[in-house]
Symmetry: C2
Subunit: 220 residues, 2 copies
């Protein structure tokens, strides 16, 4: 049992190191040697978990949705809003998440790795939250679930990218807040607008409500 726990921890160390290396160097210029050095594990341990650079990239991509998790909210549109702010907050500090996002948006796609997976998975996730929102009467009848979900995922990808390119993501929370100010009036019924919270510090407040354990996780 202790051995199994150690294996899980080693695997996690390697995935986090790989995320940081992919974030700094991009997929093409990253090497397994760089990951080995950063993770400080044996070559045998790394190859036991990950036989190739492709499998490291896949593992980093697979972490993206779990790292975007937020507590459920009774208002499903608020839960979508919270997801963007928490994701944005973690993106400023979590190297694994940064690496995962870089693999998703860089055109230099790892051959043999489906780097578009996170786009599709996020779109599915938002569609299912919008579906719940619709059933609860939160949405305007004009909202087409897939179109709106894809717009939110695509626009968020670009907003974080522009914030990274121009300001190292320091103004990301403000930009996400602007995005919602422009999007929400065409998504939710008017009566819901006032009650929704899309202020820039929303992500920090949601993370704080999760307690210190989660906050430490977000800083990893």
């Amino acid at each position: 049992m202790a051995r199994q726990e150690r294996a899980i921890r080693t695997r996690r160390t390697i995935v986090e190191a790989a995320g940081a290396v992919f974030d700094e160097h991009g997929y093409a210029a990253s090497t397994i040697a760089m990951v080995l050095e950063r993770a400080d594990v044996t070559k045998g341990a790394l190859y036991f978990h990950f036989p190739s650079k492709e499998s490291l990239a896949q593992a980093v991509l697979d972490e993206q949705l779990p790292l975007g998790a937020v507590p459920p909210h009774p208002c499903k549109v608020q839960e979508i809003v919270d997801t963007t702010f928490v994701f944005g907050q973690r993106l400023r500090t979590n190297s694994l998440l940064k690496g995962s996002v870089r693999l998703t948006v860089d055109q230099c796609a790892p051959p043999g790795v489906d780097h578009t997976g996170p786009f599709r998975q996020w779109s599915e996730h938002v569609v299912s939250l919008l579906q719940e929102a619709r059933e609860q009467g939160e949405l305007l009848p004009t909202v087409a679930l897939r179109d709106t979900a894809d717009l939110l995922v695509g626009a968020f990808a670009g907003v974080q990218l522009m914030s990274r390119a121009l300001h190292g993501r320091e103004d990301l929370a403000h930009r996400i807040s602007v995005m919602w100010a422009h999007m929400l009036p065409s998504i939710v019924v008017p009566g819901l607008l006032v009650g929704l919270d899309s202020r820039p510090d929303r992500g920090a407040r949601v993370l704080a409500s999760l307690g210190s354990g989660e906050l430490v996780g977000a800083q990893a």
Copy 2:
């Protein structure tokens, strides 16, 4: 004079070849030899115009705004809308523009080249159009020019990126149309909404109105 014209044409051939090479391979993996081969010019001609790979990248980035030009429209918000559709349309066929956009959004930034220039230039351009729109009474009082301009530029960057990753940009016009359906109600005064054209075929129609010369340019 003939010699000068030939030099201008040669320079253009090289820039277009460089754009195509950067689009296919990304900045890091592109070489001057690849550009030489594609442009089919002499080494001397290439180095006369571009002493380095960085200067090629800079020239490709500098072409991005000119390639987004659209005819002026009396309604300035319509002119912004037209810019996104025409840009999207050209992005499907113009390799130079594709390469320029890839250099802008890929995190693998060419060292010594300001690859964030287009983000800032587009933002400036949209701010000045929004300023005119405001003076003409087109905008809601809640619109903050810089915030809204940055959102439009960032969201467009992400929407085209997601469309490229998932569908090779085939559905880009539809996605731009969805973006405007969600954005316009929070940007323009209600009386303007009905008159604005943000249907998916807007870009094709604007380009057609420019005549065949421009259309050929767009296919280059």
